[in-house]
């Protein structure tokens, strides 16, 4: 942690240096703002976007799609993962189909999803949910397998039942993995929502990007990217915060990431 605190000012310095170079490059080379806008132009577009209220309305649309998809997809992945972990037969029956489905690029399904669920909120939630589902179920399943045999033996020696071993032991040991899955899922859910908006929508930041694309408003598009990045970072930070509260007994920040 102390290393991170020292690193923050350096990272900021690097970032500012990059912005300065970018700004100077754009000004000196005279590249058209239709190709690459200067950081300053992006900054003003950002201010404009917030002042006009556009970013708030469209941002809210995208955020609700992301959160809806995350809850549905992540929750579904967690539930099914627990069920499969608890009843191993299900793993052989269901899981191969899930893995097979995962190999289909979700982006390619987006047009079909929009036909099924319409141009409104539902299709984007469905897209986000589909993408958020897999990392959570995969990590849950891995996590449910990591309980040390000696801990299980201890529970058995004290007459613990299979259900008790699952809830009081395996589930606890799985939590770090589940959170790693949720962390991936929340970021992927943003991608799902934007892809959904690209294919067909009446609002949202993805929809706004397309609109500005038609008018060649490069600085405006970059500004939306900044907003999207900020949303992603905040959601990621929130997940991490909850994770640290829930998994208080592991104090190092090991990343246990599998199956994105």
């Amino acid at each position: 942690m102390s290393g991170r605190r020292f690193a923050a000012p350096w990272a900021l310095l690097g970032f500012l240096l990059l912005l300065a170079l970018w700004e100077a490059g754009v000004r000196l080379s005279g590249v058209s703002p239709l190709i690459l806008p200067a950081p300053s132009a992006v900054w003003f577009a950002l201010l404009d976007g917030f002042r006009s209220g556009q970013f708030l309305t469209h941002g809210w649309v995208t955020l609700s799609e992301v959160l809806g998809g995350f809850v549905l997809g992540g929750g579904g992945g967690l539930l099914l993962g627990c069920l499969i972990g608890r009843f191993p037969l299900l793993e052989r029956v269901i899981y191969p189909s899930i893995v097979a489905f995962q190999t289909v690029p979700k982006v390619a399904i987006a047009p079909i999803v929009v036909i099924w669920f319409g141009f409104g909120l539902a299709s984007k939630v469905a897209m986000a949910a589909m993408i958020a589902f897999f990392p959570v179920i995969a990590n849950t399943l891995v996590g449910l397998r990591v309980t040390p045999a000696e801990q299980i033996e201890m529970m058995v020696a004290f007459a613990g039942s299979r259900g008790q071993i699952f809830w009081k032991l395996r589930m606890r040991n799985a939590l770090p993995y589940i959170f790693a899955g949720l962390d991936i899922a929340i970021v992927l859910a943003v991608i799902g929502a934007i892809v959904g908006e690209f294919v067909g929508a009446q609002g949202g930041l993805g929809y706004l990007i397309l609109q500005r694309n038609f008018t060649m408003d490069m600085a405006g598009m970059f500004a939306i990217l900044v907003v999207l990045a900020a949303i992603g970072m905040i959601l990621h930070g929130l997940t991490r915060w909850v994770q640290r509260k829930v998994i208080f007994w592991i104090d190092d920040e090991q990343d246990r990431v599998v199956g994105a």
Binding site: M154, A157, S161, K168
Partner: protein
Amino acid sequence: MLIEVDGLEKVYTTRQGARVEALSRVSFNVREGEFITVVGPSGCGKSTMLKVLAGTLARSGGHVRLAGSPIEGPTPEVGVVFQAPILLPWRTVMSNVLLPAELQRRDMRRHRHSAEGLLRMVGLDGFATKYPRELSGGMQQRVGIVRALVNDPAVLLMDEPFGALDAMTREQMNLDLLRIWQESRKTVLLVTHSIPEAVFLADRIIVMSPRPGRITDIITVDIPRPRRLEMINSPEFGAYVQRIRGHFGASGSFDA
């Protein structure tokens, strides 16, 4: 007799289909309140025997009875202390200690009360709300012992409980264990591969040898109680150690 082991057999089948005899015709009895140590080199089946007594491992043959009824599975009448403390890191000391009572859906209020008493007995009062990682190895193993005692079992089974501790802590734990045993009047069966530890603690020592695991000797230790550490240097203590070592000297090396 509290524990009766009669012709106990345990045979494992390896993946290649070969039969490995882990325990062969093991028979002995344990009286109530007795302190029995089981000593032998690695692979002599002493841990296997303990698992059968704990009810976590099925036997291949013979009879094992606890207070007259056969042991068919884990029972609250038996408390187990493992080689490692195996505490759950997300539970406080108190919550770890109460786990067996919780698993068996006992009255938690009453058990909490007795757990407090037990923690005091092992010198851990004031640690109830701490987490395992805040405790030293010796303290963690004490918590493991209290956990095994919390259901007030008749028998305490201990599988090399102090094997992972340093020598100094180990001696202290041995003294503490004798005190706990005297205060709680439990019947203790402790597996170790340290011969001096086996002699120091025991009323009777069961000496085992490997391939197949069987009992080669049962020795009654007539060193007076309470035992003190300086007794380890007495000639009679040395004689017991020599006698046990003799069993292994013939069959090869001994890893302690």
